[in-house]
Symmetry: C2
């Protein structure tokens, strides 16, 4: 059975190997130096292999823990003291996975026949230029890859991401059974939260965008029901227009708030809380709130709707373009090295940069951003590089040529120890412990009126008679938190006061 | 008017910038240290820009010499003493070229409307999976890229190579006029040979391979007629099954013999002249004979027909696979770093490696390979890295991530000077001078019987009463050339004797 969930406290998000070698090391870190800071941890893909074409997001065997990290028992051991979130790679498998190799060899004779999606299965009568343009993608090419089968004949596989990630036909009984086997396996090891990776692309229909169409919602409902029957909540990962996140949030347990990374940067760069406050008025509360993840800082999430450009985003085009340039400026150009070439900043999907570098390594601004993150309704989730106030890893970027690697540093234990002893990280850990232990965050949230350069947020919790009232000066990166507990009030200005 | 052609003597093939900075430097080299070695030079793309997405093969302005290299006058100056071969990039232009940018902005109002090929223009009723699989490609993805037009609407451009190389509709009057303007420009500067780059992909028809179909031959005929009217010969560049090269050779002035690089390696690796001799029986004589070019060592050119796998290649599958492994072994694994990952060696398109490294930097084998190259009917063409017996440039490969850059070293003048003074290069230059000046190569060619480990080739020229009779021991990499001139005979065993 799954252990109980530990609520909305902060969660760490990390690659076990890149932060601390393996799963046992991750457990030691969470129970040791980080004790009390996190109630949960999102362990990024730990399946075989963790170092494929997409850093674990292209498993060849979704049912086995990569032996370099440990075993399912190590997952269960972490789950004994922390909520464990795991990824479910819904949309595809590696082209080296045994089922796909078997199907290439045996075709209709393979038990996996039907598990993988071809162009012809969706467009039996052919696809017109309009059909293909209507398929939504964040990349300029088409999502198809030719493969050679045992007969020597070719098939055109649907490959939304890289040519080595073969899309599943999740509606075919074979594909669906495969997904159910993953559900069972995760539940058996005490996982209580599952992130559905790239699920927006899972369902394809000719003539549609093949992205978050009504049939996708129905599919997510079916899959979430299976997880719920095992006591597991589902987090849906979709990048796109903010209204889509609002719509999705109504139908699922949890969504990401991917608008926060750019909106908080915008607010701190400009000393203007306007766009952030407008977002507070409409945003869903059942959100995992991030400032950084293993992916980049979303541009698409605050821009105009890419499938309906007439729907505006949370930031005006010029302001969004300025934001991108300012990230590049504050990171001294390193983020530009890691970020795709696009016709304009508005065509960018995301900017690759550590959050600390995006704020020019200004510790006060950085902790102010993290304070805002902790005060937003939902689950604050902190990426391991952000936890350690890491800078852009240009060496790794140059070695691999993978833009996102600039924010995926591989730490050794001495580096982790050194980072944990720096004042900025110690203050961040203190902030997270305050957030993790404070009863007020089970209460109600309010955004109060304030001048444009300020953000005034308030939490109250009646049963525990506590309140937290935060006035944040975005321009100065200073703040006052008034904390009321059982009638007594104290005023805090520094993380060290918390 | 074009200067007269200088016959079938050796040609250099080089990027002006990578060998000697600019066109003036190239001329100094040809007229100085290399005087007498080359009767012609293929100057790799020198148009604006020389450093685009595909090292000059994606011009934004095909009518202008990149000012970093010089001007059209520099081309004409080289043409005063050497045949000059230039590339015509027939299939595509850069997505940054002025006509394409203009068309994106103005659509049907642009004077360039119709110049660029869309999926819909070829498949107005849509393309089925079979249609798309039938389109021949050496890459696993599909050759289409979405672009946004002025109206905000998207188009799906045909992009055979990279997403930044937009295929032309060469059959549309606007595309054809563009090509004619390039013909005029080349003729005006004394170019006498034109290489039609990737012309096999130029014509597309729904339901076909879109590669070297009958309509492509008709198009090449039309284009070659325009060149011939200006005194220019046409070299057609197509990689593919050897029978296709034979068929093409019947219809055009010149084809490449891309089978020689792998066949000569195979012969020297195994000490077996079998496949090479079988090729001599059927090969076209109107060929440009290469061992190395700016591209890799062709695998596809000696393998089974990729569009009709039942037609065998010049090397059996196992032997071809062994050849690829042997290149990697002799280059101490560096070529493997530069060569695409493929399911098997037979799916490889080409192996990226300098020819000197492919022979393990064995000078005797290297000069034996060059001797064979000089004795094969046609025009011997020597790549600048091969001329200087250059090794694999792993640094450049790592810096750019472009596999072919392993064989595209950028020399400075000190490096060129040092290389020219090495014994292996001095002997190669001597060999080329012998080939350039010898009247026998205007005569008749014969392959004589010999044991398997030998190659016995003979040239005779009646009017000059000369003969060259070469017995090459492939296993030992030794040879005997018996040269008869006006009744006297001498026997040569070393390049230094030539």
């Amino acid at each position: 059975m799954s252990p109980p969930r530990r609520g909305s406290g902060p969660q760490l998000i990390a690659y076990a190997d890149r932060l601390c070698g393996d799963l046992a090391g991750l457990r030691r870190l969470l129970d040791g130096p980080l004790a009390g800071a996190f109630t949960g941890v999102h362990v990024l893909p730990f399946y075989v292999p963790i170092d494929g074409a997409d850093a674990g997001f292209d498993p060849t065997d979704h049912l086995t823990v990569d032996p370099r990290l440990g075993t399912w028992d190590d997952i269960a051991a972490i789950a004994a003291s922390h909520d464990v979130m795991a990824d479910m790679i819904v949309n595809h498998v590696s082209d080296e996975s045994a089922p796909f190799v078997d199907w290439l060899a045996d075709g209709e004779g393979s038990p996996y026949d039907g598990m993988f999606l071809t162009l012809g299965a969706v467009f039996p009568d052919g696809a017109t230029e309009d059909d293909l343009i209507t398929v939504y993608r964040p990349r300029p090419g088409l999502p198809f890859t030719r493969v050679r089968t045992h007969t020597g004949g070719m098939k055109l596989m649907w490959t939304t991401f890289t040519p080595h990630q073969i899309d599943l036909d999740v509606e075919h009984p074979t594909g669906w059974q495969y997904l159910l086997s993953v559900v069972e396996r995760l539940a058996a090891s005490g996982v209580t939260l599952v992130r559905l990776d790239a699920v927006g692309y899972a369902i394809k229909r000719a003539g549609t965008s093949c992205f978050m169409i009504p049939e996708t919602f129905e599919f997510v409902d079916r899959l979430a029901a299976e997880f719920r029957a095992h006591g597991i909540q589902v987090l849906v990962e979709v990048h796109g227009h903010h209204q889509m996140q609002i719509d999705i949030a109504r139908r699922v347990d949890l969504v990401y708030d991917f608008t926060l990374p750019p909106l908080v940067l915008d607010a701190l760069y400009r000393g203007d809380s306007g766009p952030l406050r407008r977002w507070f008025e409409i945003r869903p509360a059942n959100a995992v709130n991030v400032l950084d993840t293993h992916d980049g800082i979303g541009v698409i999430d605050v821009g105009a709707d890419p499938t309906h450009p007439e729907r505006p985003g949370l930031l005006e085009p010029d302001r969004l373009s300025d934001l991108v340039e300012e990230i590049h400026r504050r990171s001294e150009g390193t983020s530009r090295l890691a970020t795709g070439v696009a016709a304009s900043n508005l065509d960018l999907y995301q900017v690759n940069c550590t959050y600390f570098d995006a704020l020019g390594r200004d510790e006060d601004r950085y902790l102010t951003a993290r304070l805002i993150q902790c005060l937003v309704p939902g689950i604050p989730q902190v990426y391991y590089v952000g936890l350690l106030a890491g800078g852009n890893d240009v060496d790794l970027l140059e070695r691999t040529g993978v833009g996102r690697d600039i924010n995926r540093h591989v730490y050794d234990s001495a580096e982790v120890e050194a980072a944990l002893s720096t004042p900025v990280v110690q203050r961040l850990v203190r902030l997270l412990r305050w957030r993790a232990g404070h009863p007020v965050f089970d209460g109600t949230f309010e955004v109060l009126d304030a001048p444009d350069h300020e953000l005034h947020l308030r939490w109250e919790h009646e049963p525990s008679a506590t309140a937290v009232d935060a006035r944040i000066d975005l321009a100065a990166a200073t703040w006052t938190v008034v904390e009321t507990t059982a009638g007594s009030t104290r005023e805090l200005h520094e993380v060290d006061d918390l």
